[in-house]
């Protein structure tokens, strides 16, 4: 079966009668990623920036899992299989590690400056 | 159940699915709500007896058995208050977060063979993960109440629950390792037969780790002596100081729900699940194949077994609560980090070495039941199992009794 043309397929995305495709997951991943980038860019709170990073990693993870899923793959198409899931797992683990270090840095910053506003971290400005 | 509805009654597909999902959801909800009613009454009676009192005696005739219902009606009629400085949305949301987490964990909990909301391949992991979410509601409640007592209670609870997840996870991993599966149905089936097949009695290490699990389970559901989050002698009432009426009772339904849940987990992981100490069904000659009613009888027996074990666990938690004094926060942390975690780690390693050294147990030839091996390729080269049912939520939402 030929895939539907682009405009039509975006309409179909909201139809509940059709099975989902990989592209559905990609759109979700894109929204999460963009939200994360916007969060990192606009938040002045260091914890907000951290949450943005988590969202970005999560958006990437959605894509990995979508490509890995044999359920979502079209008939006859190959999926990434376990590799995608393993990479998603590593991303989750590293995100946890990153959050731990970033939190420690934030705590240090708070101890020194009594705030978590990242705009105030300008001690090294020449 | 979906098969039953579609084939026997002849409902169309979507109706059967929706009906089956609704029935299981309502059943689980009733287990939590009804269980909370019964256990609150039991707690009143148990505490009364321990303190040499009578407890409720009048409501509903003998034994005051309608006491919790009367309490519930009183709570319904109470005014729903919110402190002035509170964060309204979070304050209203918090009890539901707690309750939903407790409810979600029940989805993967098997009550008897195949009597499970959704049989998950990673059920143990799922339950532990979702149970950890319950603390979210508590933290939100503590923050949103705009009261320092609530905030103190919430912070204590956060520190406590996050710390105790480490030894709890280590304890839970041991039965998973012995069974070779994270599916709770398979784990329980592997302990079928007489009670010496239970994983508590598998080897000395699992016996010790069972008691570590009990300690951590009591701590992770915030029961005394670990109930620092609501220490009434220091923090008024802890995180639910500002709550009243129905919202308050949601916290309590969640608490009693998770008490039942961790007890049922203990039963499934260590105490044979729905397999009684004596294999009554097998002795009477019942099996899945014999007749039409035998499977139902077996499931009914299993249900009684599991609910009995879990209720016993809850009663023991009450006994502990009314016997031991509350620990200080540093003592709670010491118990977790200096005792539970190292003991659990050593016992984990010990159980693993035992499994390598004495895979057949102490008595050679006393074969353990195989259970249902879902990952068939583990058993030998080339022996791939026929594709077992995968877990995804659109299919077979309910499999409560065929």
């Amino acid at each position: 079966m030929m895939p539907p043309p682009l405009a039509l397929s975006s309409l179909l995305a909201l139809s509940v009668t059709e099975p989902v495709s990989v592209a559905h997951y990609l759109v979700v991943g894109a929204i999460l990623f963009t939200a994360g980038v916007a969060c990192m860019a606009t938040k002045r709170n260091a914890l907000g920036v951290l949450m943005g990073i988590e969202l970005v990693l999560n958006g990437a993870n959605v894509n990995f899992v979508a490509f890995a899923s044999p359920y979502l793959a079209a008939d006859g198409a190959r999926s990434l299989g376990l590799d995608g899931q393993a990479i998603a797992l590593f991303v989750i683990l590293l995100a946890a590690a990153e959050a731990a270090v970033a939190l420690a840095i934030t705590l240090n910053f708070y101890n020194n400056h009594a705030t978590v506003d990242v705009d105030r971290a300008d001690d090294l400005k020449g | 159940m979906v098969d039953f509805l579609t084939s026997t009654i002849g409902l169309s597909g979507w109706l059967a699915w929706t009906l089956a999902a609704t029935v299981s959801a309502v059943l689980i909800l009733n287990v939590i709500a009804g269980g909370a009613l019964v256990f609150i009454w039991a707690e009143r009676k148990v505490s009364a007896r321990i303190q040499d009192r009578l407890g409720p005696t009048r409501t509903g005739g003998r034994f005051g058995w309608l006491q919790s219902l009367a309490d519930g009606i009183k709570l319904l009629a109470k005014e729903d208050l919110m402190p002035e400085g509170a964060d309204g949305m979070l304050f209203r949301l918090a009890p539901y977060v707690s309750f939903c987490a407790s409810f979600c964990a029940f989805i993967a909990l098997p009550f008897a063979f195949d009597v499970v909301g959704q049989r998950l391949n990673v059920a143990v992991f799922f339950v532990v993960a979702v149970l950890g979410l319950e603390v979210f509601g508590v933290i939100l409640a503590g923050y949103a109440s705009a009261s320092k007592w609530s905030l103190f209670g919430a912070m204590r609870e956060a520190a406590q629950v996050v710390s105790y997840e480490v030894p709890l996870g280590m304890c839970v991993v041991v039965p998973v390792m012995l069974a070779g599966s994270m599916d709770m149905v398979t784990i329980a089936e592997k302990q079928a037969g007489w009670f010496w097949n239970w994983y508590v009695f598998h080897d000395p290490f699992t016996f010790v780790i069972f008691w570590v699990y009990v300690t951590c389970a009591v701590a992770s559901v915030n029961r005394a002596p670990f109930d620092l989050a609501e220490a009434e002698s220091e923090l008024v009432a802890g995180f639910h100081t500002e709550y009243s009426g129905l919202r308050w009772s949601y916290f309590f339904m969640a608490e009693y729900g998770s008490m039942f849940l961790v007890s049922a987990m203990a039963a499934v992981l260590f105490l044979g699940g729905w397999n009684g100490p004596i294999p009554v069904a097998t002795l009477l000659g019942f099996s899945e194949g014999t007749g039409d009613t035998a499977p139902y009888l077996i499931r009914l027996l299993g249900l009684a077994n599991l609910v009995g074990k879990a209720s016993l666990g809850v009663i023991i938690m009450m006994w502990i609560r009314w016997t031991l004094p509350r620990l200080r926060i540093d003592q709670v942390m010491t118990t977790c980090l200096k005792y539970c975690t190292p003991i659990a780690a050593v016992m984990f390693a010990g159980a693993m070495l035992w499994q390598i050294g004495l895979p057949g147990g102490l008595i050679p030839g006393a074969g353990r039941p195989g259970g249902e091996i879902r990952e068939g390729w583990l058993e030998g080269p080339g022996g791939r199992a026929a594709a077992p049912p995968a877990a995804d939520e659109s299919r077979d939402v309910a499999r409560v009794a065929p």
Binding site: K43, L47, L55, S69, A77 | -
Partner: protein, 243 residues
């Protein structure tokens, strides 16, 4: 027992509008809506605790999406680690910003506008890229995957049971993820130590009186007099007399 409800059966049921619903898609749309909505709410919210709540919602809904895609283990892991990690974030948020002036930290309106523009442009580019490959737009085959938890675990210890090479037994050792797994383990350990080091309690710049007293050398060199000397010194500092 098919994952999607057979269409023919449903049409025969006579209730096409309801019957034609693909439940998998329905649940997908539900979880996707929660995940995306909560992610946008994280950006829009100013209060740290609310942001954390929305982040948790988004991450939990994403775990639901993983379950729907047949990746149970990754979904459960997401619930356990990501959501648990966010819990700690939340606690930090409350600890560091619970005082009134810190609760809301608004960004400038111009920044928000700019971020909105850039975000929409980025989103448009990503979505177009995602939809541009025809193979990705083909509807799902609905092939029910086998449970992946055990093969995944075996892959992490270096045995790829999911791809047995032709003509060899299943348990033939292939290059799995043993090395990355070990590296990640050591990495986590290093991070644990490093985070504890970074966040350790700092020595105060101005020591407290009791610490000054403790660091004063006892007047007598005799060992048994040291304790008495220390208490004397402490008493003199606390009462303000010269030692």
């Amino acid at each position: 027992m098919t994952p999607t409800i057979p269409m023919a059966d449903l049409v025969a049921g006579g209730l096409l509008p309801l019957a034609a619903i693909n439940f998998h898609t329905l649940f997908f749309l539900l979880f996707a809506a929660i995940a995306c909505g909560a992610a946008v709410a994280v950006v829009a919210a100013d209060n740290v605790v609310r942001m954390a709540l929305f982040l948790v919602l988004s991450l939990a809904a994403t775990a639901g999406l993983f379950f729907l895609a047949g990746a149970e283990f990754v979904g459960a892991m997401q619930l356990m680690i990501y959501v648990g990690g966010t819990l700690v974030l939340l606690v930090f948020g409350v600890m560091l910003t619970a005082q009134a002036p810190f609760v809301t930290m608004k960004s400038a309106g111009g920044d928000r506008l700019l971020a909105g523009f850039v975000g929409v442009a980025l989103l448009a580019m990503l979505v177009l890229a995602g939809l541009s490959v025809p193979a990705w737009r083909q509807p799902a085959s609905g092939t029910v995957p086998e449970p992946t938890a055990t093969p995944l675990g075996m892959a992490l210890v270096g045995v790829r049971v999911d791809q047995p090479p032709a003509g060899q037994p299943v348990d033939a050792v292939r290059s799995g993820y043993l090395l990355p797994f070990e590296i990640v383990s050591v990495h986590l350990l290093v991070v644990l130590v490093g985070a504890a080091y970074l966040a350790r309690a700092k020595r105060r710049k101005t020591p407290r009186a009791i610490e000054v007293a403790a660091s004063v050398e006892p007047p007598e060199a005799v060992a048994e007099h040291a304790a008495i000397g220390r208490t004397r010194a402490a008493a003199s500092v606390l009462t303000g007399e010269p030692s």
